[in-house]
């Protein structure tokens, strides 16, 4: 039992459960028929509309704001600016405030006359219709004292500095393990390369939105498009100086987030203050253009990776440097070094971060923050090394396979990467690949095959759930989680159904309301594991209560049995030694005149390899762990590309991904999620780029017309498989989460395939036709 997830104790696989089955989405029908209400779709009495006006300039001071024309428009109720925004108890404008609020950015617009970045909100117009508010916002005239902005770390005038910590203090600005410089200097084989990554934006289908209603002077309800209702609730309560309980946050459905909805951005509290000012419910939806300066982005960055190795391709040293742009207030950089430190068995490692402040908002987590661009660097360099030494790219990865976590020497809680490599190679036909680069041609196309490793940590996280089981055989299960559209509603229904021994259609899972038991942010790939474990543990509490009831009930066949001797099979409690003897919960409850029974459960997710945190309590599933294991998902991508030998266009023609990510809760939604991550990664690899004008520090292509994301025609049929993994240490359900690993290594796999096709390496993302044509013609 110690080496099996606790899930197996009760109603485990093989007992006819639905966990893992490709169940259709329980919310699918409501979504396609429009019944599902997204956060901006709640019809409310007296609702009015807020529209933000963003700054035209990127740096300077507001000298005056003329709102006369806007105020004169019919239907306009208020124009809020830094001069009349209702005062907040706390702002993130100092680091203490930022920390207390949990704000993603150390600056709140409309609290000062200073303009720090283009698009920074300078006014919020409220009117009785959206159209009138939009028009009035265009009539607000702002006079600025304009200063010359700085657009990025690449500006010669940028001041580069070494931060002590990056990513809100979560990652050290400098790390070393052993003496990597010395190891590099004496290594028989050396490789050094520099990679750049364009600015990327999340671009979820559903833009950010807030609908704020003051129920009374000190009670607030917010319908918010967020990945984390609890974080939003805490942030707002802190800024408003209200008890957390008096702020209610509701998010029933999300149209994607990818990290940009992981924290509470300025528009949320500004809308709340607007509702206060006009004493009406106010709804504000960011426009697509405002999404580019409203909810963060993946920062522009350069990485240099130096590798020292033996002639056999065994790694000796890894030295990594990253330089990127950050905002005037925060030291944010994605932690690229984590995956570079971790992915392969290498005795020495060194990493340092450099930042430059520029007139941009703070960047934020973007699907696989750090792992995505970090894997691009190391997986391209490993590929280069393989060619340099004449070793197959897959083989060189096997030669450096990390049997334990190289960063701390701990054993893995589970790792199926070798199986991922083997199965992926088999599905793809890797052995048929021509070992020579630039040597396979079909007509005008150069054909290339590439692969890359994926990995993502299991982040420390916890949450709670409540199960209410009714004697009539139905159950309501609740947790204040959010469903990004990835299937939380569905998989939690499955978990609860199995844990209670019910059919899924007898279970209703509710999420997305801060009145429900607290769940973690749906971010860092923690939701599936934490919430499913909470649900599972809550169901155990229900059974525990029922067992006690049965044992004390003279009329029960289980009367006077010992609790430990009673087990659960589907919806029945039976004696372990004599399974004929027992009864189902409905009979027991009805006899005892109970209409329903409740249990709550706390689910904890992993120990987090960086923190090596203490294990969770007995119900967490990793009580045996004592922080002794390193917990990660792993996977491998294989892909084929066709490169037009003259024009440089790249098309991905085949794709295989195999992952080992613990228990897979639903084969169908999991496959979709991996495909989604692959497409996200192909976008970053081949076309996604936000252009920030070097003189104006303003985005030029802030629209989905000019910011390209993949269309159907860019994506081939994809093969996705999972290696069955039973991880006893992760959490009660043995679930690792797949939201982000799906994206890791994707850009490298594409770049490696392009190299194999052309014999030329493009190290600047995205790999657009102009760049490929450029390297092909030299």
């Amino acid at each position: 039992m110690d080496t099996e997830p606790r899930f197996f104790e009760t109603n485990g696989p093989g007992t006819g459960g639905v966990v893992g089955q490709p169940l259709n989405r329980v919310d699918g029908y409501d979504k396609v028929t429009g019944k599902a209400k997204y956060s901006a779709e709640f019809p409310l009495q007296g609702l009015v509309y807020g529209v933000l006006k963003g700054s035209e300039i990127a740096k300077g001071k507001i000298q005056s704001i003329d709102t006369t024309a806007a105020m004169k428009e019919p239907g306009v109720l208020a124009v809020l600016t830094h001069q009349n925004l209702p005062k907040l108890a706390k702002t993130p404008n100092d680091q203490e405030g930022k920390k207390a609020i949990g704000a993603p950015m150390g600056f709140l617009p409309l609290t000062s006359d200073v303009v720090h970045y283009a698009g920074q909100p300078v006014a919020l117009v409220v009117a009785d219709t959206f159209e009138r508010a939009t028009h009035a916002a265009s009539l607000v005239r702002v006079q600025y004292a304009v200063e010359k902005p700085l657009a990025s770390y690449q500006d010669p005038k940028a001041e580069i500095f070494n931060p002590e910590k990056v990513q809100d203090d979560k990652t050290k600005g400098y790390t070393r393990r052993g003496d990597a410089q010395a190891a590099l200097a004496s290594a028989p084989v050396k490789h050094s390369a520099t990679y750049t990554h364009a600015i990327n934006h999340h671009n979820p289908m559903e833009p950010g939105s807030t609908t704020a209603i003051w129920e009374s002077a000190d009670r607030l309800t917010v319908y918010e498009s967020t990945q984390g209702i609890t974080r939003t609730q805490k942030s707002l309560a802190t800024m408003l100086g209200l008890p957390q309980e008096q702020v209610r946050v509701v998010t029933k459905y999300l149209g994607g987030g990818f990290g940009c909805k992981g924290s509470s951005w300025p528009h949320t509290v500004l809308t709340v203050q607007a509702a206060k000012a006009v004493n009406r419910p106010v709804k504000l939806v960011l426009t697509r253009q405002q999404m580019f300066t409203g909810m963060g982005h993946r920062e522009d960055q350069t990485q240099t990776l130096q590798i020292g190795a033996t002639k056999e391709g065994k790694l000796l040293a890894l030295v990594h440097e990253k330089t990127s742009t950050t905002s005037p207030w925060d030291n944010y950089a994605e932690p690229n070094s984590r995956i570079i430190n971790l992915l392969y068995d290498c005795p020495t490692f060194e990493s340092s971060y450099q930042l430059a402040r520029a007139n941009v908002m703070t960047s934020t987590f973007t699907r696989a923050p750090g792992e995505a661009p970090g894997s691009f660097a190391i997986e391209c360099s490993m590929d280069d090394l393989a060619y340099q030494l004449g070793i197959d790219p897959l083989e060189i990865r096997l030669r450096n396979y990390a049997e334990k976590d190289p960063t701390n020497g701990k054993p893995w809680s589970s790792k199926s990467l070798k199986q991922c490599y083997a199965r992926g190679a088999e599905l793809f036909g890797w052995n048929k690949r021509n070992p020579k680069a630039g040597d396979t041609r079909d007509g005008r196309y150069l054909i290339g095959m590439g692969m890359a490793t994926a990995s993502y940590p299991v982040h420390n996280s916890q949450g709670t759930a409540r199960v209410r089981l009714y004697a009539d055989g139905h159950a309501v299960v609740q947790s204040g989680a959010t469903d990004l559209g990835t299937g939380t509603y569905t998989v939690m229904t499955q978990v609860a159904a199995d844990a209670l021994g019910l059919a899924p259609d007898k279970v209703r899972f509710e999420l997305g309301d801060s009145r429900l038991p607290t769940a973690p942010n749906s971010g860092g790939s923690v939701a599936a594991g934490t919430v499913s474990s909470s649900v599972y543990v809550a169901a155990q509490e229900v059974w525990q209560k029922l067992k006690k009831l049965a044992i004390a009930d003279k009329k029960s066949p289980l009367y006077r049995a010992k609790v430990e001797d009673v087990i659960v099979e589907k919806n029945r409690m039976v004696l372990k030694a004599n399974k004929q003897k027992g009864e189902d919960f409905a009979a027991l409850m009805k006899r005892n005149e109970m209409s329903d029974i409740e249990g709550t459960g706390n689910g904890k997710y992993g120990a987090g390899y960086e923190s090596g945190l203490a294990p969770g309590p007995a119900d967490s599933g990793h009580q045996d762990d004592k922080g002794g294991h390193s917990m990660h998902s792993f996977g491998a991508h294989f892909c084929e590309v066709h490169v037009d030998a003259e024009l440089g266009t790249v098309r991905v023609t085949r794709w295989v991904s195999v992952h080992g990510a613990g228990r897979i809760l639903n084969a169908k939604t999991a496959r979709s999620q991996i495909i989604g991550g692959n497409i996200f990664g192909i976008g970053a690899a081949l076309m996604e780029e936000t252009f920030r004008d070097p003189n104006f520090a303003r985005y030029t292509n802030a629209s989905l017309g000019e910011y390209h994301i993949p269309v159907n025609a860019d994506i081939p049929e994809m093969t996705v498989e999972f290696i069955e993994e039973h991880d006893p240490y992760i959490n009660a359900m043995g679930v690792k989460g797949i939201g982000e690993i799906s994206m890791v290594g994707v850009a490298a796999a594409v770049a490696n395939a392009v190299f194999h096709a052309t014999g030329k390496r493009v190290r600047d993302l995205p790999i657009t036709p102009d760049k490929v044509m450029g390297v092909l013609s030299v």
Partner: protein, 326 residues
Amino acid sequence: MNNFSYTTATTAKEATGVRKDSAQAAFIAGGTTLLDLMKLNVEQHPQLVDINMVPFKGISETADGLRIGALERMSDVGENQLVVQQYPAISEALLLSASPQLRNMASIGGNLLQRTRCTYFRDTAFPCNKRNPGSGCPAQTGDNRGLAILGGSTACIATNPGDMAVAMVALDAVVTLENSKGKQRRVPLLDFHLLPGTTPQRETILEADELIVAVTVPAAAHARKSHYVKVRDRASYAFALVSAAVGLDVQGGQIQSARIAMGSVGTKPWRALEAEKMLVGKPATEASFRAAAAAAVRGAAPREHNRFKVEMAQKTIVRALQEITA
């Protein structure tokens, strides 16, 4: 977006009359360019005149070629068998444009009048000589990857981004215009769009009270053997990085007549007359094509991010010529 009034016109005269009285008013056909620009506040019209009921319809074969009514939809023209068979470059250019939804809405007249995708033009926070004459051209030293290497000026290097016009310019199309007096004139499409010079805000020779009635394209051997190649950042639904429309009449391995035009390369649909001349009388070989392509980009003045277009335009021309002679 500002408030505007909306009226429908059923005759050309009704429509042009409105514009004669108020040059601020705008015709609306499919609305796929106009409404975008109004929402972005790039254009502000107090009045819209819906011209979809004006009977500028029909795709027909005339004595000397093809005639397309200005209010025909891109999808209908692109899929029309006469166009597909006799003027394949036009059909290909249309079907490689935009998306099916847009093509179902967008008209041929509106297509010829679509405005540049220069990103500065579309964001009123930036200066832009085309949108706001005299304010400057940030594209010269900024985001110019998509902009023109031919026909630009220090005032403006915006491309005409459309596909169909490139194919039509290559095949000697002529536009028919009609003004508020009911007077019609015919103008070669090549002369319809203007170079930016010092007045980039003036994009065509169309007068305020004129409507596009139709486009005619002469029948020709090189039209029947014509072809459009579009290179873009993704497989579909993107404007061209560069494109080429070509037509060839080859007999006995010898080129009798040739047509070459480029898209997203010049500040207007760019006809390469020199290159065409070089091909006539030459064998239809890669060497001839390359030499012509080199001539087509002679005089190019690329900026920092669009340097690649010099090479890509040539390769695209060669590709298009090879594909029709293959």
